[in-house]
Symmetry: C2
Subunit: 340 residues, 2 copies
DNA sequence: TGTTGTCAATAAATCGATTTAGGAAAAGGT
DNA sequence: ACCTTTTCCTAAATCGATTTATTGACAACA
C-alpha cells in the first residue's frame, strides 16, 4: 500500500541501502554523489514517502515510546503531569501511551505487561501501591522507570515526589497559629505513600504544639469526590466538630466543600479549609482557596529527565529520588478560630 | 537481551514456526502433538517470554494503536474524551497516543505526520481548523479518522459532535424567558465550528424573540481562562452592561467568573451566568452553575466506534456525522432579570 | 507392494527498514 | 603502466515475529 524505501530505490535506480544511507543523513556529502542524493530526495518528496517506523523500530530496537501509568487522567493533577511529560517527550522525539489504573492493582500489572510487549523504552508511573513485587522485577531487569508522586520505602528506585510531609506540616502549623485546635484531616487513599506522608505531616505538626491526636478527626480513604464528601460528612457529624479541615488531595476538596455547604456551614466562618490545588483548573470558588499547590509541571518534567537518563545510559545510571517543595498560598478559605 | 521466540524454539528443540503456531492458538489441538505444546508453554512460562510486538506489528501490518490529537489534555473536556477513548481502546486491545496541539495548526500537521510514520491505524482529532488541506489528503488516502467535537462543512468525514446550535439556542431562550434582554456571548475560539454553531444558536434565539443582535455583546476569541477573563471584563465595561452571560466553553467560565467577581458584581444578583460544564471536575462554586453539560463520555465512545468501524472495513465504510444532545441543567447562577 | 492419508514439524519467504563489509570504477601518484 | 586511494554504490545479514508450502514418518488400505 504505502510506498516503501524499496520502491523509492527502484524508481531512482539504486539499491535500497543507498536510499537508506542518504535519508539517514549520517554519511552527509560522503559516499553518495550529489546527483544521486538530489534524485533520491526528489523522489521521496514526489511519492510522499514516509519511513515505516515499525520496521525501523524492529531493526534499531527502539520505539521512541514511553508509558505513563496513572490513576486517572481526569484528575487534573495527573492531566498536568501528562501535559508536561508530553512537552518533554516532544522535545526528544518520544511519544507516550497513557493508561488509567483507577487505582486497581491488577490493571497496573496488566498495563505494565502490555507496555513491555510493545517494547516501550521506559515508564513513568504513579503506582497503586497495593502490591509491589512487580517493581522489584522491573528493577532486577534494570527496566527504566520512574515513580511519580508516590514511592516505595522498601527499595531504591527513581522517583519524583512532592515534599508531602513538610507541605502539610506547614499548612497545619498555619492553622494552629490561627488558633484552631480541632483540625480535621480528610484523608485520600491510605495506601498512597503521598497520603501517608501527609498524614504524618499532620500528626507531626500537632505533636510539635503538644496537641492531642484524635483519631476521630482523621477520616476517609480514596481520592474521589464521593470519598471526600462522605468523609467530610462524617467528620461534621462529630459531637465536637472540627473548626478547620486539611483536605489531603485535590479532587477530594470538591466533595469536602459539597458536604460543608450541604450541612449549611460556610467557609471560612464556620470551618476553615486548606486544600490541595494545582493550577487554575481545580475547584474554583467565589474566593480563592487556601492551598498547597504542587509543582505538577516540574513533576512531569523531572520524571522524564530521570527516565531519559536511565534509558540513555542503562548501565551507569543511578537511582535518584527528587523531592519538590510545594507552594503554600493563603486564600480566603481560612481565618482565625473563633474566640482566639 | 530479551528472550525471543527463537530462543524458546531452541530450548524446546523445535523450529520457531512451531512455537509461533502453538502460541498463536490458531491451530488448536491440530498439527502439533500434545507433548510439544505442553513443553512449549512450560518453556514460555519458565523464561517469561513475551512476544515482541514490534516484530509482530511489522509482519502483520498492525500496530493496535490509534492517535488522539486534542488542543489540551488539561482541559477536562478533552481529558474526559481521552478517558472514555481509553476505556474503549482497552476493550479492543488498542493503545492510544495523545498529542496536544495548543490550537497551533502547525503542530497538528506535524503530529499527523509523526503518527502516520508510526503507522497508527486511525486518528481521533479535534482539529485546530485554521486550515484543512491535510484532511482532504487523509480522505483521499482513505486514512481512518474521526473528528471530535468539531467538524468541517466543506467535506464529508466521520465526526462526533454535540448539538451546539440547539444546546445554546435553548439556553439563551431560557435566559430570555427569565426576562433578560441584554445577554452577552463570551465567545471561545472563533475558528472552531463548535463555537461558531454556538454563536449561531445564540443569534438564532435572539432572532426568534425579535431581539436586536448587538455586536458589542459578542466578545472574545480563544478557549482560555485569560481569554474569558479579558472578554468578560470588556463586556462588563460597556456603558449598558449585560444582565446575563452565555459563556461558550468550559474553561472560559473560570476566567469569566474571575472578571465578574473582580468587578465587584455577584452571580446571579447582578449578572446571570450560563456556562458549559462537564462532570464534576469543572469549576466548582458554592452554588451549582446553570449549565450546558455535554456528553463527553459518549463523545469519546462514539468516536472510537466510528473509527474502529473504518479500520475494520476500510473499503465499505460510510462517513457518519453523529450529533449528541447536551443536558441543560438549571443551577443557581441564573435568575429573573430585575424589573421583570 | 505400492498407494493414499494423516500427523507432526520444518523451511523459507516476508514485513521494511539499517548497517557492515566489500567491490567496481574513476582519479591520483610515481 | 601499475599501484593506491577515493568515490560511489551494492550485497546480504539482521531485527523477531508469522505463514504458506512442503517434507518425512508412519499407519492404513487395497
Amino acid at each position: 500500500m504505502a510506498v516503501t524505501l524499496k520502491d523509492i530505490a527502484k524508481k531512482v535506480g539504486v539499491h535500497p541501502s543507498t536510499v537508506s544511507r542518504v535519508l539517514s543523513g549520517k554519511y552527509d556529502n560522503f559516499n553518495v554523489s550529489e546527483k544521486t542524493r538530489k534524485l533520491i530526495f526528489e523522489t521521496v518528496k514526489k511519492f510522499n514517502y514516509s519511513p515505516n517506523e515499525m520496521a525501523r523500530n524492529l531493526r534499531l530496537q527502539k520505539t521512541q515510546t514511553i508509558g505513563l501509568i496513572i490513576p486517572d487522567i481526569l484528575n487534573p493533577f495527573y492531566a498536568g503531569m501528562a501535559r508536561s511529560l508530553g512537552i518533554e517527550c516532544e522535545k526528544k522525539d518520544y511519544s507516550f501511551i497513557i493508561c488509567n489504573t483507577d487505582e486497581i492493582q491488577e490493571k497496573e500489572i496488566n498495563f505494565i505487561q502490555m507496555l513491555k510487549r510493545r517494547r516501550i523504552e521506559g515508564l513513568v508511573i504513579t503506582p497503586v501501591q497495593d502490591s509491589k513485587d512487580h517493581f522489584e522485577e522491573l528493577i532486577e531487569e534494570n527496566f527504566p522507570f520512574v515513580l511519580a508522586s508516590r514511592y516505595f520505602d522498601d527499595f531504591e528506585t527513581n522517583a519524583v515526589v512532592t515534599d508531602d510531609y513538610n507541605d502539610v506540616f506547614k499548612a497545619v502549623e498555619y492553622l494552629i497559629k490561627l488558633g484552631h485546635s480541632r483540625i480535621g484531616f480528610i484523608r485520600g487513599r491510605k495506601a498512597s505513600s503521598a497520603i501517608q506522608d501527609r498524614e504524618k505531616g499532620y500528626k507531626g505538626a500537632l505533636a510539635k504544639y503538644n496537641m492531642q491526636i484524635d483519631q476521630d478527626l482523621i477520616v476517609g480513604n480514596g481520592c474521589t469526590i464521593e470519598g471526600g464528601y462522605k468523609a467530610t460528612k462524617e467528620i461534621l457529624n462529630l459531637p465536637e466538630k472540627p473548626t478547620a479541615l486539611l483536605v489531603s488531595a485535590n479532587v477530594i476538596v470538591v466533595g469536602a466543600l459539597e458536604a460543608i455547604f450541604e450541612a449549611g456551614l460556610s467557609v471560612p466562618d464556620d470551618v476553615s479549609v486548606v486544600g490541595f490545588t494545582n493550577m487554575k483548573s481545580t475547584p474554583y470558588l467565589s474566593y480563592p482557596l487556601t492551598s498547597i499547590s504542587q509543582p505538577i509541571g516540574q513533576l512531569g518534567k523531572r520524571a522524564f529527565d530521570l527516565l531519559f537518563q536511565h534509558i540513555q545510559s542503562p548501565d551507569e545510571h543511578k537511582y535518584k529520588k527528587i523531592i519538590l517543595p510545594s507552594k503554600f498560598s493563603i486564600g480566603k478559605s481560612t481565618q482565625k478560630a473563633l474566640g482566639s
